[in-house]
């Protein structure tokens, strides 16, 4: 089974975020980036399917030069090849323009399955997988918790709301978005890291894909959200904090 897995690079979870002068994105200097955590579950699922059924795993990512690191990590974990769609202004694209670009690059590949994470920890649109399916004319299923390949089709466990699940079947080729927690993503081994150095990362500029990208939406500005509640911060030594908090919960909020 040949699998294309989409991986995105996002600011690290604990990176201090400052808004850049444009007011529409964050300042990228001095912060570290990491692979979008939901995508690590998609990558792991792709590697497990390959181990079971054979085939090839191709990791694709879009963004500036730094994104190569995320592709390298995927290769170190066991992906066979990488594709880097280069675009310094990737963050300014809308979900549809991003998906159109990825679809154009993926179209050139021979694949049976495309996997993405559930959503990205930066924009959080959660649309890429579903859009890829529509743009490539493929069936899809989202929020997947288990994949069983049965010949030319898949049997999938979809997560629904409030603790419900559903089995669905769909024919290959297809696109799936993977729910976080479906597996335990592996760490790269030293051997894997060494082997990754010999693996190919094909770079292609987004412009060269010839995708028209009229934006359907635009971020006017980003800002620290307005507080809806006034938070009373309690300070002191742990002992003092505990005493003050219990006092407030008992006599002010009357909930203890």
């Amino acid at each position: 089974m040949n699998i294309v897995v989409c991986v995105k690079q996002v600011p690290a979870k604990d990176a201090p975020l400052a808004i850049d002068p444009s007011g529409t994105w964050i300042r990228e200097t001095d912060i570290s980036f990491e692979t979008n955590e939901p995508d690590t579950f998609a990558l792991e699922e792709a590697l497990r399917l390959k181990e079971k059924h054979g085939g090839e795993v191709v990791a694709i990512s879009m963004g500036p030069e730094r994104v190569k690191q995320t592709i390298k990590e995927a290769l170190a974990k066991g992906a066979d090849r990488g594709i880097h769609v280069t675009d310094d202004k990737f963050h300014a694209l809308d979900p549809l323009a991003s998906a159109r670009s990825l679809a154009a690059a993926i179209k050139k590949e021979k694949f049976d399955l495309i996997l993405t994470g559930l959503q990205s920890d930066d924009h959080g649109f959660g649309q890429t997988g579903v859009l890829l399916a529509e743009l490539l004319g493929l069936p899809h299923a989202t929020i997947i918790m288990s994949i069983e390949a049965q010949g030319d089709h898949l049997r999938l466990k979809r997560e629904l709301e409030a603790g419900w699940f559903q089995w669905v079947e769909l024919p290959l080729p297809a696109v799936l978005t993977i729910q976080s927690g479906i597996n335990k993503p592996r760490y790269a081994t030293l051997k894997g890291i060494m082997a990754a150095k010999k693996k190919e990362i094909a770079a292609v500029t987004r412009e060269s894909l010839g995708v028209p990208a009229p934006l359907t939406q635009r971020v006017e500005r980003i800002y620290v959200p307005h507080k809806t509640k006034k938070t009373e911060f309690i300070t002191g030594t742990p002992k003092e904090i505990a005493a003050k908090l219990v006092e407030k919960l008992r006599h002010e909020a009357r909930v203890l």
Binding site: P139, H140, A141, G163, W167, S180, P214, I222, E232, P238
Partner: protein
């Protein structure tokens, strides 16, 4: 402005978030002096259309088809595309449910349009509609506007509007218009099979008056008893954010959030929980929220009544001791 609201039902039972989005749609329609139509889609759902018609809207559109009895992304996208092309709305609004996430981007793209999803609010300023959504896991908000021609498609997050504010008509009912759609069985590629619940819900967290909830900040499974002790001292239950259950440190039935339980206890203690949207939607209705987190910029503090910026491994044991002391006094 012509607004089309798409409601959600399963087995002829409402997904209640539909009424939150109805409240939002009514508000936008009144501010923008627009009209509002509500869509009910499925099979055997005429009674729901009739129920919706009692609310303040201009018209209810009922789409019924045997192939729409069970939800599929193909069936819903094909059917709704026909309805949208016929009704020609400026704005299509949906509740941001798991199901909407599954089909709405596809529906929009099938018309060459984009979708602004998971909005937490909107502003109507000088004839311009601005949608507010969260980015970076709630650490920043973003004002987003549509570009290009209508229809524009947007969805609102659960809890962003109050369902009880959805206005009913003072008398009479809106007309219910049945619209037929053309749908072929072979166009539906996914086969929906049975629905099921995994674990027996051993604990019903919705009934607990006090919840002590742990997030990534608890760091390791061996630290869970720290929170458990506090929960016990307070007479509450232990709960968690999704990553903790994903790791298997606590069972899935202890999970609070969009994929777990939605709770509104009188006291909710968030220990080492950053406050990602998916968690917050499950607990923001709590009467009193206490957050303990080492990161003073964690979004959880936006909804906390009491906040402590500090090391939970120092504060929680002190708090447990203090609670025990106050109970015995």
């Amino acid at each position: 402005m012509k607004i089309l609201l798409i409601t959600e039902q399963h087995d002829a039972k409402w997904n209640k978030v539909s009424f939150e989005t109805l409240a939002a749609a009514q508000q936008i329609a009144s501010e923008a002096k627009g009209s509002l139509s509500g869509v009910v889609i499925g099979q055997g759902v005429a009674a729901l259309a009739d129920e919706l018609a009692a609310y303040q809207l201009d018209e209810v559109v009922l789409i019924e088809n045997a192939l729409l009895e069970k939800y599929t992304p193909d069936g819903y996208s094909i059917a709704l595309k026909q309805v949208i092309e016929q009704a020609k709305p400026d704005l299509v609004l949906l509740p941001h449910t798991y199901q909407v996430r599954d089909f709405a981007p596809k529906l929009a793209a099938s018309m060459g349009k984009g979708m602004i999803g998971d909005c937490v609010g909107y502003r109507y300023e000088g004839g311009k509609l601005i949608f507010v959504r969260q980015m970076f896991q709630g650490r920043t908000a973003a004002d987003v506007i549509f570009q290009g021609d209508a229809p524009w498609i947007a969805s609102f997050q659960a809890g962003a509007f109050r369902a009880d504010l959805a206005g009913k008509k003072s008398d009479g009912k809106a007309t219910v218009k049945s619209v037929s759609v053309e749908l072929k069985p072979e166009a539906i590629r996914t086969k929906p099979l049975e629905l099921f619940r995994e674990a027996k819900q051993a604990v019903d967290l919705t009934q607990a008056p006090i919840l002590v909830s742990v997030g990534r900040g608890i760091k390791a499974p061996e630290n869970i008893p720290l929170a458990e002790k506090l929960a016990k001292a307070m007479g509450g239950e232990l709960s968690a954010s999704r990553p903790i259950c994903d790791e298997g440190w606590l069972p899935m039935d202890r999970q609070i959030g969009s994929s777990g339980q939605t709770v509104s206890p009188k006291l909710y203690l968030a220990l080492g929980i950053s406050g990602a949207i998916q968690h917050v939607v499950g607990m923001k209705g709590s009467r009193t929220i206490v957050a303990i987190n080492k990161d003073q910029n964690a979004p959880i503090f936006e909804i906390a009544d009491y906040g402590v910026v500090g090391d939970l491994f120092e504060i929680v044991p002190a708090l447990t001791e203090e609670v025990e002391k106050s109970k015995s006094s």
